[in-house]
């Protein structure tokens, strides 16, 4: 698709697949604008979970009986499906609890391979806490130092010159979000990973906000590792994907110990299974993998490029609506200079984000208010918190209009002060 117009798929029709969207809250129809926190689930995903528990539920890998064989096949099929979804091979896919666990796994295994006194971990100022805190913990342990590619506050974009300078200074690990959950910024991950490769750094992409919203192909991006969460891409909670490039993944030491991840155990010591099993200790979340499989099927049926365009359309409308109110501050890329994903943070003049969100809720609108797990970025932007609206393919222009009405009412209430 070359055009910047959304293909005429019908958000109104897709909404019908999402039972949770058909409810009222506080006596008004729900307008769910919090998909960046977690997406709603289509009926096909919910049903895949029920069907699994009603028919095939068993522990995997170690079992020979019929149910166990079915459960194992379903689990490994889900792995193959995830590989296809991200343009990878099945043995490059590890199932995790979510993006956070993925980063923790990487921090704790890569530290033994590439970190040490004075080594540099390069992040960006717009990372989610889950892509900051694990690195702080291993930096403290290993003596590595963390540097941050700055965010230009006016545009919400990374300072690319500064990025190049930082790469030139030597980097062991580079970890960066694909899309900022606070700013909506879409980072140039392809160039960033190329620079990382030139610098000899291991590159990690946090695709928590992108995996369910656009095509994410690991070979195209050129990253060594990638993490995401199922629950933000129409899948169930408690499951996520870690991609690791074939030999790099194979070479990592294990992280958690237990069943599945071993080859041979004696009382004296143990040897490890091959990747990806080496990284999946204990009974995996089979249900989660199966639900995620159904979610990936659903997303591909809708069309990931179509989702991206629909998100963009709504966010542009929302930014237009919000900026029509005097004194409203909108964060992230605002003009054509940078792509703005379906997430928009804003601040109403003199009104705290939590008041905005509580009042919007009374109008049936689910927004998020707070630091969005990015406290240091809030500080840099000079706000205690922002309100955030995030869009998905099941949102409509009516939802944007509902947001406009709500903001108008809130502004009016506070204008009496």
């Amino acid at each position: 698709m070359q055009s910047n117009q959304a293909k005429p798929f019908s958000a109104y029709q897709l909404r019908e697949d999402f039972p949770a969207l058909a409810q009222s809250v506080n006596g008004v129809p729900l307008v769910y604008l919090d998909s960046a926190a977690t997406s709603q689930k289509p009926r096909s995903v919910i049903q895949s979970i029920c069907r699994y528990y009603e028919n095939d539920n068993a522990n995997v890998h170690r079992g020979v009986h019929a149910l166990s064989e079915r459960a194992t096949a379903a689990y490994e099929n889900a792995r193959g499906r995830a590989a296809k979804f991200f343009g990878a091979e099945a043995q490059e896919i590890v199932f995790t609890r979510g993006a956070t666990e993925g980063v923790n796994l990487l921090a704790n295994t890569l530290k033994k391979r590439v970190l040490g006194e004075g080594k540099t971990i390069l992040l960006t100022e717009m990372e989610h806490h889950s892509n900051i805190v694990p690195w702080q913990m291993v930096a403290q342990e290993t003596g590595a130092v963390i540097r941050y590619i700055p965010v230009v506050p006016e545009t919400g974009m990374l300072d690319e010159d500064e990025a190049k300078r930082l790469f030139a200074g030597g980097v062991a690990i580079f970890s960066c979000t694909h899309i900022s959950n606070t700013l909506g910024t879409v980072n140039p991950v392809q160039s960033l990973c190329a620079w990382a490769r030139e610098a000899g750094a291991v590159s990690i992409i946090d695709a928590a906000q992108s995996a369910g919203h656009r095509k994410v192909d690991v070979r195209e991006i050129g990253c060594d590792f990638l993490v995401c969460s199922g629950h933000k891409m129409c899948g169930p909670m408690g499951v996520g994907v870690l991609y690791g490039e074939g030999s790099l993944l194979q070479d990592l030491p294990p992280w958690q110990g237990g069943g599945e991840m071993i080859s041979r155990v004696t009382y004296e010591g143990s040897t490890w299974n091959k990747a990806p099993h080496k990284f999946e200790a204990g009974t995996p979340n089979v249900e989660g993998a199966i639900g995620l499989h159904a979610a990936m099927d659903y997303l591909d049926a809708v069309g990931r490029e179509e989702i991206r365009l629909h998100d963009a359309l709504l966010v542009r409308e929302a930014m237009g609506v919000l900026s029509s109110f005097p004194g409203v501050r909108i964060f992230g890329p605002v003009d054509e200079s940078g792509e703005h994903a379906g997430v928009v943070s804003f601040a109403l003049p003199g009104i705290h984000a939590h008041d905005v969100v509580t009042l919007a809720d009374s109008h049936g609108i689910a927004l998020r208010g707070g630091h969005h797990c990015n406290q240091p970025l809030m500080k840099k932007l000079g706000v205690p918190a922002t309100a955030r609206a995030s869009f998905y393919f099941y949102n409509t222009e009516e939802d944007v209009e509902a947001l406009r009405c709500s903001v108008e009412k809130i502004m009016r209430m506070f204008s009496k002060l």
Partner: protein, 160 residues
């Protein structure tokens, strides 16, 4: 109660024009309290009476949401010149009001709470509870300071 009722005039009034909203020089107690989860930050200042038995003056500063600001502002007006012990029990009564339905609460607490009852509606919004109680948590600590003639404190109230 609807949310817009929660944001009723008395709260909007205090949030928009918070009373005693000014830093205090040389306070007898000073507590900085923050809730990093939502970004509310305030500093509570107390001055004790000469005999040390009463709260003579209360002031606060900070940056917070309407609920938190109004609650702090109301606090400063209510505990003015109260005996220390009564300020403490008022704080307790207030915090209880946010947990227990009115009809179950101790007799007489309604009268004691007076216009603090406008904040009762927060009970329906568990996520906003900390906004309403932040100033009162600070007060609890400030009172201990008064008693122990302690130094100032910086507190973080996190989720959980």
């Amino acid at each position: 109660m609807s949310t817009e009722e929660l944001y009723q005039e008395i709260i909007m009034d205090h949030a928009g024009k918070p009373r005693n909203f000014v830093e205090m020089a040389e306070p007898d107690a000073k507590v900085e309290a923050e809730n990093p989860m939502c970004g509310d930050e305030l500093t509570l200042f107390l001055r004790a009476s000469a005999d040390g038995l009463r709260i003579e003056k209360t002031q606060f500063t900070g940056q917070a949401c309407a609920i938190c600001t109004a609650s702090a502002s109301l606090l400063t007006t209510k505990i003015k010149s109260l005996p220390i012990g009564e300020a403490e029990s008022l704080s307790q009564a207030f915090q209880e009001m946010l947990k227990i339905p009115a009809e179950e609460s101790a007799e007489g607490s309604a009268e004691r709470l007076g216009n603090l009852q406008v904040l009762e509606g927060v009970r329906k919004f568990p996520m906003r509870m900390k906004c309403a109680t932040l100033a009162w948590h600070a007060l609890d600590h400030a009172v201990v300071q008064l008693r122990e003639k302690g130094a100032s404190e910086k507190l973080t109230f996190s989720d959980g």
